[in-house]
């Protein structure tokens, strides 16, 4: 994985010193809260319901064991012994003191980590396919391009006060595992007929209160023009994105209002102009970055196959492992969704254990997924049973990946000052209900996503079943959505009808799944059945 050189280290160190100075000026009264807020946000520091919250960047979701250990250490030393992995492959801590924040950033910098641009109206941490470098279906590892963009976007002088936040995801396979089409810019690295790599730019996707699927703005950007094209995309947005209404300020609204073609034409004109301005890095830089993502020393000539005579192990293998491009290897997902647990939360002890396992079983590497789980990308199949036993002993072997218990949930009103309703208790009740009734495995793949407000951090628009928490006359109320997907077949969920209270929505989901089980045809997932039979039969069982 990527390692800092002295320049990268110097930049992060400079940022720590800069933030320390900003905190000092805030505490000295030289900065008002209004002035300080965007500065702390650009360092990932929010003021939430109970305390400050610090969001630490995990660039393209990749972590070394040492970095993962540091996340555990910070949880113990500065927080209350746990952290929360987020839907943008980051981690956040809920109980941070402003006075401690510079010291935390300083500790993070010792393992090449930071909280830069994890919030604010700037280019956020770049996300990527969590199986990058391991998946059998990718044409290249997308992370070198994400790293190049990380550097380009860090402290960008022109794009630090955009109309609104800006999220970029990079993938390099047909299958989209990063919700790429729901980002402000989604980049898909692909091959042309001549076997060369290039980048397709999709612009204007997003969730929030106005969910939109992105438009293909340019099919082919040469790899030695990536930064120039991205710069053009951002400049057009910075100049023309709306600033009169924060709810209409995302780039998706700009594309919606002027049309994707007009936007593409303006970007093209800006791109032609910028080609002469020398903003593109030397191609040697991309090659330098690529060397850090070279294959680890895989054992060659291993055969595929795992002894699955232990039933519990077999269930986990079938559910939580993913096809690796090397024979004899697999990518294993550690579910952070125990039955009745808090989605995405991990204790310091669990974080340290996962760090150890990354070191012992996966070439010193692990990944955070946008579904709030952890991946060990390169595990030898012949050692899988040993890995599973270690996970099982720590309560980390829940075999529910992509099933109804593998719920994405935002922190909701338990932690978040923007939320209108709690999301976590609902996730807990649903996963408990389907564990108790034994239906989870029977139902199979069903991606359930819960947001506690319209900002959609819990990706409810993209859930096969989505839940949106709202405030209804001072009471928590939950709207149900069906038919969303963030995969290759990206679609947005539709609201079923009137909302439910907390227990009501759990019942509603059970009814929904019962209808699916009654109606499904051979091989159909919940989403397939929904797409075939439509919303009406579901409305009938819910409200009829």
């Amino acid at each position: 994985m990527y390692q800092y050189d002295r320049y990268d280290q110097q930049m992060v160190d400079a940022r720590v010193a800069d933030f320390r100075d900003q905190v000092r000026r805030r505490l000295d009264g030289k900065l008002t809260e209004d002035q300080f807020k965007p500065l702390r946000l650009m360092n990932g520091l929010y003021l939430q319901l109970h305390a400050y919250m610090l969001r630490v960047a995990v660039p393209y979701g990749t972590l070394s064991a040492a970095q993962m250990h540091m996340l555990g250490t910070i949880a113990d030393k500065y927080d209350r012994g746990y952290g929360h992995f987020t839907t943008r492959q980051n981690i956040q801590y809920n109980w941070i003191r402003l006075e401690d924040a510079p010291d935390i950033l300083s500790e993070l910098s010792t393992v090449e980590m930071h909280a830069i641009q994890t919030s604010g109206n700037c280019i956020r941490n770049i996300s990527a396919d969590h199986f990058a470098g391991a998946a059998a279906d990718e044409v290249a590892d997308p992370r070198p391009y994400a790293e190049l963009m990380r550097q380009w976007s860090s402290f960008h002088p022109e794009f630090s006060y955009l109309p609104r936040k800006f999220k970029i995801a990079v993938i390099a396979s047909e299958t989209d595992r990063a919700a790429m089409r729901l980002h402000d810019i989604g980049i898909r690295i692909h091959k042309n007929d001549a076997g060369e790599l290039g980048a397709a730019f999709y612009v204007g996707g997003g969730m929030g209160r106005t969910p939109m699927i992105s438009h293909l703005v340019r099919e082919w950007v040469p790899l030695d023009r990536l930064i120039t094209y991205a710069e053009a995309c951002l400049r057009v947005y910075n100049r023309y994105g709306r600033r009169d209404n924060k709810y209409k300020a995302r780039i998706k609204i700009l594309l919606h209002e002027i049309g994707a073609e007009d936007y593409a034409a303006q970007v093209d004109a800006e791109y032609q102009h910028l080609l002469d301005q020398g903003v593109e890095p030397p191609f040697a830089e991309l090659e330098r970055i690529r060397t850090f993502f070279a294959d680890p020393s895989f054992v060659q000539g291993l055969s595929d196959g795992v002894d699955q005579s232990d039933q519990a192990f077999a269930a986990w293998v079938q559910q939580n492992t993913h096809l690796h491009r090397m024979h004899g290897y697999t990518s294993a997902t550690i579910s952070l969704k125990p039955v009745g647990g808090i989605p995405g939360d991990a204790t310091a002890a669990q974080i340290h254990l996962m760090a150890d396992l990354a070191k012992e079983f996966s070439f010193d590497e692990c990944r955070v997924t946008h579904a709030q789980n952890i991946v060990l990308p390169h595990v030898e199949q012949r050692r899988l049973y040993e890995l599973w036993q270690r996970l099982d002993a720590a309560g980390l072997a829940t075999a529910n990946l992509d099933n109804i218990g593998d719920i994405i949930a935002c922190p909701g009103l338990d932690y978040c000052s923007l939320a209108n309703a709690r999301a976590i208790p609902l996730a807990q009740k649903i996963s408990q209900r389907f564990a108790d009734n034994g239906k989870e495995a029977v139902i199979g793949e069903l991606k359930l996503k819960i947001s506690g407000c319209i900002n959609a951090c819990g990706h409810h628009h993209a859930g096969h079943i989505g839940i949106l928490g709202v405030d209804r006359k001072g009471r928590e109320n939950y709207q149900l959505l069906l038919g969303g997907s963030e995969g290759a077949d990206t679609s947005l969920g539709k609201i079923t009808g009137p909302g439910f209270d907390e227990d009501g929505v759990v019942d509603a989901i059970e009814k929904t799944t019962e209808l699916y089980l009654a109606q499904r045809q051979e091989g159909e997932r919940f989403l397939d059945t929904y797409r075939r039979i439509g919303m009406e039969p579901f409305k009938e069982v819910l409200y009829g």
Binding site: L47, L49, A51
Partner: protein, 99 residues
């Protein structure tokens, strides 16, 4: 009654105006009546609190102050899903007080 709340600037902890100081406990909150804006502006300027705001609250049958909105009840208690981290870790009923 009208009570004043905010977060401590340095620690971020939820605090309530008790008439002379900022308390961690909502039970200590006093009725600020018409003085909310004046106190908030003064305390904000003195950097003893960050983003102070006034809320409606009632006094329940047990004499406890109860913020009118669920968000402020959760702020007063702590996360309902981690009662071990709330101000009433030993009280199994703490979570239901919020609802």
């Amino acid at each position: 009654m009208k009570i004043l709340t905010g977060n401590d600037l340095k620690s971020g902890a939820v605090v309530w105006w008790d008439g002379r100081n900022w308390s961690l406990h909502v039970e200590d909150a006093c009725d600020v009546g018409e003085d909310a804006a004046m106190i908030a502006a003064r305390e904000d300027a003195e950097r003893r609190v960050v983003v102070p705001y006034a809320i409606e609250a009632t006094v329940d049958a047990d004499g406890r102050i109860r913020p009118a909105h669920i968000k402020d009840r959760i702020r007063a208690l702590g996360p309902t899903v981690r009662t071990d981290l709330t101000l009433r870790p030993a009280d199994p009923e703490a979570g239901t007080w919020v609802i």
